[in-house]
């Protein structure tokens, strides 16, 4: 078990490399820059190759001055400038890989157009590495508090029992693998900040929280982990408020750092729209309807229900009630964030989040689900009579998730709007 936990990330790397090669180990028609993947990425070719952050030059060169509608990039009515649906955070995290791809493109005499072979692979490999880095951090945190067997089972459950692996390998230019990494770092930083609030840690807290907001603006809710970490009872809230007041200087430094990190995005919004804060989805007719959220659909439906497509996450719900020690400190923030996330997703116009495997709205926060899952495994490990049955059920959930992920990859499962009749008809069919 110790060996399994120690080498888990290496094993996940091998599995990801094999899957990526099987899917994209060819030179024609790589699909990385389609749909959301395009709009997350487009900042990079625009800045690196066209030296233009307005997105204007790239539109002229490739599309005759107008981005195709599916890219989600439209001119803001009052200024006529391009507003991208998606913020700059994912592109920032992709940048090191795309810069290497750009240099290799020149070296191999491939077209330096921002979309040719190496750029695609650069962005694709980046997502895999961020997932692996996230898992490394998660493993490190879990190993401090749980046995090797529990850590291994949790890492397997999070990686393959959910859609995390899919969003690192298949839809690798979407934001989710990147945000998963940031939430892992965030969890690690928050724990350290409460233990030892150094200046470096404080700066990192501000920077990482802001970067997560730049990846997806609604990820701003994860900031709540900082005040809620370690709050177990209502009565803890008062003590926590005092602790936060005592650390107000550090919080101010973190906030200032966050503001610096957010500044380029805010400046871009201001330049494009005339306002510092913008809902970029407004021109697309999308928004929140908090009055009638699709709660049951988001959690249990065949369309994109979280627990329907990733049943192993039900263990996290059980973990909330049996968590002890470190995991107990995370119960309140995990529950609050899960509830907020669910309300946000369920209130969104496109609550299925379009084409996706499982519900991708939850992939970012899987780092917070992991301690709850581990708590459930640890609780069960103390009841040896039930372990074989429990292990079989867990294994079945992981294998089912992997099978359905492969069905999605090969086009057997619909990309959205799956009905119960379709699901039954396609169950474990691979052609």
């Amino acid at each position: 078990m110790a060996r399994g936990a120690r080498h888990f990330v290496a094993a996940a790397a091998v599995a990801a490399a094999l899957a990526y090669t099987a899917l994209y180990g060819h030179i024609h028609g790589l699909p990385h820059f389609q749909s959301d993947g395009y709009s997350y990425y487009v900042y990079l070719p625009s800045a690196i190759i066209y030296h233009d952050v307005t997105l204007e030059a790239l539109a002229d060169d490739w599309y005759g001055g107008r981005y195709p509608d599916p890219t989600g990039i439209r001119r803001w009515p009052s200024t006529g400038r391009w507003l991208n649906l998606h913020p700059i955070g994912t592109a920032i995290l992709m940048a090191p890989f795309v810069l290497v791809a750009d240099r290799l493109t020149v070296w191999s005499n491939l077209p330096r157009d921002g979309f040719s072979l190496y750029y695609q692979h650069g962005a694709g490999v980046g997502a895999i590495l961020y997932m692996l880095l996230g898992l490394t951090i998660l493993r490190r945190m879990l190993r401090r508090h749980f046995s090797d067997g529990v850590v291994l089972a949790t890492l397997i459950g999070i990686t393959w029992g959910t859609n995390l692996f899919h969003y690192a390998v298949f839809d690798c230019t979407f934001s989710h693998a990147y945000a998963f990494f940031l939430v892992c770092v965030w969890l690690w930083l928050v724990e350290r900040w409460w233990e030892r609030p150094t200046l470096a840690c404080t700066l990192a807290v501000g920077g990482v929280a802001a970067l997560n907001v730049l990846v997806r603006h609604t990820n701003g809710i994860y900031v709540l982990l900082l005040p809620l970490y370690g709050v177990v009872h209502w009565r803890d809230l008062r003590a926590r408020a005092i602790e936060l007041r005592d650390r107000w200087r550090l919080l101010a430094i973190a906030a200032a750092t966050g503001a610096v990190v957010l500044a380029p995005q805010l400046a871009l919004y201001k330049w494009v729209t005339g306002s510092w804060f913008v809902n970029a989805y407004v021109p697309h007719g999308m928004g929140f309807d908090f009055g009638s959220p699709h709660l049951a659909d988001v959690l249990f439906s065949t369309q994109k229900g979280l627990f329907f497509w990733s049943p192993i996450l039900l263990l996290c719900a059980a973990g909330v009630f049996v968590a002890t020690g470190w995991a107990r400190k995370l119960v309140v923030p995990a529950v609050v964030l899960f509830a907020l996330q669910t309300w946000l997703i369920a209130s969104w116009t496109v609550w299925q989040f379009g084409a996706s495997f499982g519900h991708r709205g939850y992939t970012d926060g899987l780092a917070l689900a992991a301690p709850m899952m581990a708590a459930c495994f640890a609780w069960m490990a103390k009841r040896p009579r039930f372990v074989p049955l429990f292990a079989m059920g867990t294994m079945a959930a992981v294998l089912l998730s992997i099978a359905q992920m492969i069905q999605y990859w090969i086009g057997v499962l619909p990309m959205e709007n799956t009905t119960w009749a379709q699901y039954q008809d396609l169950f474990l069919r691979f052609r």
Partner: protein, 146 residues
Amino acid sequence: MRRRQWIAAAAVLVASALALGYLYDPPWIGGVTSGLRPWEEGPPGTLFRWTAGRATFFVPSNVTTMIVPLRSVFPGPDGAPVKVEIRDNGRSVATIVLNDPEEWVRATVPLTPSAGRRRFRRIDLRISRVVNPYVLGVMTGEVSAR
């Protein structure tokens, strides 16, 4: 650093150098394209691909003449001809003017002997207009080279 770390670092360095050497002129690069849609077949049995506003393909470096079939299908703004600039390894070698949108123009492009050591030369097409919403540049047929 310990001995094992030195060995690992040296191995990474050697592997990187070998990979770079290979990637300078990989044999598969002749099949790489960019900015080109999949092949389609026109009514008379003509194979063609649509470009976007720019497109790239490769031809062997020993080629001295290349014939590129081009058809604009849609005219330029206000009925103006569509222009296709052809570049050889980044150097402009011809600009083809497509006056009649329906006509296939077989552009013959002489190429100077390649000075480099690569097996393939990169041919870029830059199209003067793009038709939205499908981002269509021009049709390109099968390129012949000699």
